[in-house]
């Protein structure tokens, strides 16, 4: 068991890397659809909203130390209902993994690999995941820590956009009205998802209880700020009329830059972004494998990994045009909003009402 624990710092990077994923490329576009140029306000509101979910997740895990979501759900909800919800959550995590693969494939085949069959692109990512989750959470967390500095490169590229921005484009602020902005923050919450992996990974984290909540909320804060920066930059780089027709504004913006050595900045960005996608995918895939392990009473999650990867690949190659991808995105985003952001709060309320907690909690 000792090999499986992670430190606070590792938890921070784990959450950070899981939150940063596919969404970063199209976030400005999806925010713009509803809230127009006030989309960045929605994002920051979403950043505040998810802090409540985080608080619930932490409280929940705090009641059941060293127990994952799959362990304590039957305890809170009773054996049968708990089992059903374990199945639902396993499927949920599996479908998020699939969604990540779908979106990843749609962007890669649109921007770089035009001729490569999509099953190859998907399979490579899925098999990376299958290999990765055979390692312990600690090894995963170490990898996530190592790749985090790469984010600075992404940030550097985006900073370069400030050579050609029009700050007046985000004015006037708040024109869309508070209601639209709030409505749009729902989309922003979807982009910020990833903190829900804490439901499982908090169980592996050792150390002070109060410090854990600080760590996960700081990680979310960092991601919110990073996303906010990206969104603001694209909003002042593109004209509001232009964002409407550019689904991946971040990449499009980078495509226009070229340096004497690097001609196509967007390709470099994509290569680094792939790692961020992989980290998110691996985390959710790990969670799905953990769920399967619990459901079937397996000894560890290594056995199920290859089968899960094949299932993921098979599902992910189904949608083959843009509209189908959008439909999948819509439904899975909706369910993840439900299960990742809202349901933990409900679960906590039930746990408090039914006075369910691990007896060992008070002493530790």
């Amino acid at each position: 068991m000792n090999k499986h624990t992670i430190t606070h710092r590792q938890l921070f990077f784990l959450i950070l890397q899981t939150q940063i994923g596919v969404g970063i490329l199209s976030l400005p576009y999806s925010l713009f659809q509803k809230a127009k140029i006030d989309g960045w306000i929605s994002l920051f509101i979403a950043g505040v909203i998810i802090q409540f979910s985080l608080l619930a997740i932490w409280k929940l895990c705090d009641r059941f130390p060293q127990k994952t979501l799959f362990d304590f759900q039957p305890k809170i909800l009773g054996k049968n209902l708990g089992f059903i919800f374990n199945v639902i959550y396993t499927l949920h995590f599996l479908f998020i993994s699939v969604l990540i693969l779908i979106l990843y494939n749609s962007i890669v085949s649109k921007w770089i690999l035009f001729e490569t069959p999509s099953w190859v692109i998907i399979l490579i990512m899925a098999s990376t995941g299958a290999y990765f989750i055979t390692s312990s959470p600690r090894e995963m967390a170490r990898f996530y820590t190592i790749v985090t500095p790469l984010l600075l490169i992404l940030l550097g590229f985006i900073l370069y956009a400030y050579t050609g921005v029009h700050p007046l484009y985000i004015l006037p602020i708040g024109e869309m009205g508070m209601r639209t902005i709030l409505k749009s923050s729902q989309d922003a919450v979807v982009a910020l998802l990833g903190f829900d992996v804490a439901l499982v990974f908090l169980a592996y984290t050792e150390g002070e209880r109060s410090k854990k909540i600080k760590v996960i909320s700081y990680a979310s804060l960092c991601v919110t700020i990073l996303y906010g920066f990206v969104v603001l930059t694209t909003f002042i780089y593109f004209n509001p009329e232009e964002i409407k027709i550019v689904p991946e504004p971040v990449l499009y913006m980078l495509k226009a830059f070229s340096f004497s050595i690097i001609e196509r900045t967007d390709l470099i960005f994509l290569s680094i972004w792939m790692i961020s996608v992989a980290t998110s995918f691996i985390c959710y895939f790990f969670l799905a494998a953990k769920g399967v392990q619990k459901l079937f009473g397996l000894k560890n999650n290594k056995k199920s990994a290859p089968y899960l990867a094949i299932i993921c690949t098979l599902i992910a190659v189904i949608p083959n045009d843009k509209l189908e991808v959008a439909a999948w995105n819509k439904y899975i985003s909706f369910t993840s909003l439900l299960f990742s952001a809202l349901f933990p709060i409900l679960l906590l309320i039930i746990a408090v009402l039914r006075k369910k907690e691990d007896k060992g909690a008070a002493s530790s």
Binding site: L113, T116, V120, Y169, L171, N239, E242, K255
Partner: protein, 374 residues
């Protein structure tokens, strides 16, 4: 040991055999041009440089120009592709040129293929030429004939040097896009005049929305670029006549180089809904030519400053009047209104209002140096 062998099949995944693009199987376009034919079809002209083995001291590059005509920009590209032996590739494109007639119709429709294609070079320069783009691209220039320069590089460098001397505003395919979409701002592109063995950048082609509506040419275009708020470029300089009483004709002129250019654009809306615009330039310059030779007293310097300010103020008023007549809001006055007076802007018909608003211009020249002689 067994584990190590398992890695071997992974090597097959590393090759990426689907998306290879061999250079020897592609032809790189370095300059592209668009013209409309009389019946509304699009003619695309592309310059493709071909390297050849140099014959003792001879040229190493020959520029070939191909053109094809189709209903749309993309169709013409496909037709062009059939004419050349290998696959055409635009990823190394340096410049896009529009014939004046096609620019006057609409440039976005033609540019769409560049914005849509993930491989196209968005940082390529973009310009308008007098006459047809085909002539500019298939012309034989002194610099391209003798050396190893491709037409695309040559035309790009011509424009780059005009950017340095502030004859034109700095634009690329991507940088004009946000402004083209903006209802509150317009843009200008370099305006090329093809000569026999050279291409001359004569000033800017002024656009309104997606259509070209006129030009600002000659020395005036430098002042225009200064008015757009360009801070400083390496060779932002121009010559003006400041007196007419000197016996020797040359002595009536002075040339100056801009060291620091500051533009103040003040858009105010009065309570009664009157828009008024204050456009001011505060410019610090160095005198780089003054054949009259007596800049040693402060009085003389002040006189030059006053004369220059007066001349340029008058000239800037003419530029603004011209722009208003063309209905081209290149200074982004509409954008300022949109940003700071949004409710007012919503009720406004900017197309109709812009030519009528009063724009007060003022140029303030301060001489901060005059070279190494008095």
């Amino acid at each position: 040991m067994k584990k190590r062998w398992c890695c071997l099949p992974a090597l097959f995944l590393l090759t990426g055999c689907w998306d290879t693009q061999a250079l020897h199987k592609t032809k790189l376009i370095t300059a592209g041009g668009f013209d409309y034919t009389k019946n509304g079809n699009v003619t695309i002209t592309a310059s493709i440089p071909q390297s050849i083995a140099p014959a003792a001291g001879g040229q190493t590059l020959i520029n070939q120009a191909y053109s094809a005509t189709g209903h749309t920009a993309r169709q013409s590209r496909v037709l062009l592709d059939r004419k050349v032996s290998e696959q055409l590739d635009v990823s190394k494109n340096q410049i896009i040129i529009f014939g004046e007639d096609s620019a006057k119709k609409d440039i976005y429709q033609l540019l769409d293929v560049f914005y849509r294609d993930p491989k196209s070079a968005l940082n390529a320069k973009i310009a308008v030429t007098k006459g047809s783009a085909k002539d500019v691209i298939s012309n034989k220039y002194m610099e391209t004939e003798s050396g190893s320069t491709g037409i695309g590089e040559y035309l790009r460098d011509v424009i780059k040097s005009s950017e340095e001397s502030a004859t034109v505003t700095k634009e690329t395919i991507q940088s004009v896009c946000p402004i083209m979409f903006d209802p509150g701002q317009d843009f200008t592109l370099p305006y090329i005049i093809p000569l026999k063995h050279t291409a001359k950048v004569d000033g800017v082609a002024v656009f309104h929305g997606e259509k070209m509506v006129g030009t600002i040419t000659g020395p005036t275009s430098v002042l225009y670029v200064m008015l757009t708020g360009q801070h400083y470029t390496k060779a932002m300089s121009t010559t003006r006549k400041i007196s007419s009483d000197k016996k020797v004709k040359l002595n009536n002129f002075t040339s100056f180089k801009v060291k620091k250019n500051k533009r103040i654009l003040d858009v105010t809306v009065s309570a009664t809904g009157q828009i008024s615009v204050d456009l001011q330039l505060k410019t610090r310059v160095i005198i780089i030519e003054y054949p009259h030779n007596n800049l040693n007293t402060s009085g003389e310097v002040e006189k030059v400053e006053k004369e220059l300010s007066a001349t340029l103020t008058k000239e800037s008023q003419k530029i603004v009047a011209k722009l208003q007549k063309m209905n081209a809001d290149t200074f982004g006055i509409g954008r300022e209104l949109m940003a700071f007076h949004y409710p007012f802007w919503k009720k406004l018909d900017w197309e109709k209002e812009y030519p009528k608003i009063p724009i007060h211009t003022k140029v303030d020249i301060t001489v901060i140096g005059h070279g190494i002689i008095e």
